[in-house]
Subunit: 228 residues, 2 copies
């Protein structure tokens, strides 16, 4: 069975994001997948990149360089236990699903902290092993998120600009950089401002998509996809 | 005298980012500006958006909605004291400078958390008061950051794509949304990989730019600037 890690960032289990997460867990388990959830708020996941992420002595204690220290710590098995745990989940996963409400054209800080702290050099990338040869190649990722703004606001001529513009840093800059191929994002526009019936339809559409997810082809993660 | 708030995110005072921050403090004070620094790591600034940001009872304790609760808490003066403090600094500032190392095509999580938690509806925006009529209009912002990759990597045909692509969510999606006009970003490419002499030149260039900063015109923060 395939393995899926859902990295989930919402404070409220009863939220629409919570429902989207639960549907994914249920549907994927029904398919026989092994599903793990990192429920970041419930875990009180630490988003700050600090000295505490390194166990033991520093490589250079005179001048703290987070990137260098994390790389060195990874190589000698000296990362903090929460990071070792998350890296183990990533290593085992065939697919990463990120489920979150869009905060300021991006993911909430708690999830950005997961990216900053977990995707360490040596583990997820190591020059020249980046992009198509990134260390997490052969994995897939899918960003599933809700917005405050409507689909019209996130259209090409809309006030917020094309939704794909804001996907560039997170899909290309993070996941593609690590070698992960991207399935098309799953976007629920403005669930807070639609009817209960439309919200139900959105949940059904997500469950439907998941049924044939493994047959999907990754997107072509090139500038053309984002800015054409 | 004009007032400047520098929101600074680096763990190490001796770092290149630390030097850029110190140069700004020194040069702007020399000009007679009032300068305040929010040193996020030193403050152990909380990046997570949680129930703890609201003092007292919730508007709806049945189902926690962070955006709604923060809006209501702002209106009744019920935000946590760290947020009231940051909002006071923003309110008084004519210019916001964000100083940070680029982490994953964006700001470090600790700074994203500052955006998520401080720029509350009612304080920074309140529909339809967004973009040019955002509640922080008449203020300026400047993103000053360092990269790991070289200028060539962040060129239009480069492996990371045009650096402006990744500025869209942070300049347009956050600052412009709140009505803040943007001065051109200040980017120091790959200071870790250049000579000590070149690093010194970068510091001098920043000090030089600051001397005439108040004469600069804001950029035209439209899709053309980013994706032309």
């Amino acid at each position: 069975g395939r393995k899926v890690l859902i990295v989930y960032a919402h404070q409220e289990p009863k939220s629409f994001n919570g429902s989207l997460k639960s549907i994914a867990v249920e549907e994927l388990r029904k398919q026989g997948c092994g599903v793990t959830v990192s429920d970041l708020y419930a875990m009180q996941f630490e988003p700050r990149a600090t000295r505490s992420d390194i166990v033991g002595c520093l490589h250079n204690s005179e001048e703290f360089n987070y990137g260098v220290e994390m790389w060195e710590a990874y190589k000698r098995g000296g990362l903090s236990s929460d990071l070792i745990e998350e890296q183990k989940k990533v290593r085992e996963a065939d697919l990463l699903i990120f489920q979150f409400p869009l905060y300021w054209f991006s993911m909430p800080a708690i999830m950005k902290g997961w990216m900053d702290r977990v995707l360490v050099q040596g583990f997820a990338h190591e020059f020249p092993n980046c992009y198509d040869s990134g260390l997490l190649k052969n994995k897939l990722a899918l960003f599933s998120f809700t917005t405050g703004g409507s689909k019209e606001m996130y259209a090409k001529g809309g006030i917020n600009g094309d939704i794909r513009y804001l996907l560039w840093p997170i899909q290309h800059g993070i996941m593609h950089f690590c070698g992960v191929r991207l399935l098309a994002p799953h976007i629920c526009y403005a669930p807070e401002y639609v009817s209960e019936e439309e919200r139900q339809e959105m949940l059904i559409a997500w469950a439907q998509r998941l049924k044939t997810l493994w047959k999907e082809e990754p997107i072509d993660c090139s500038p053309e996809w984002y800015f054409k």
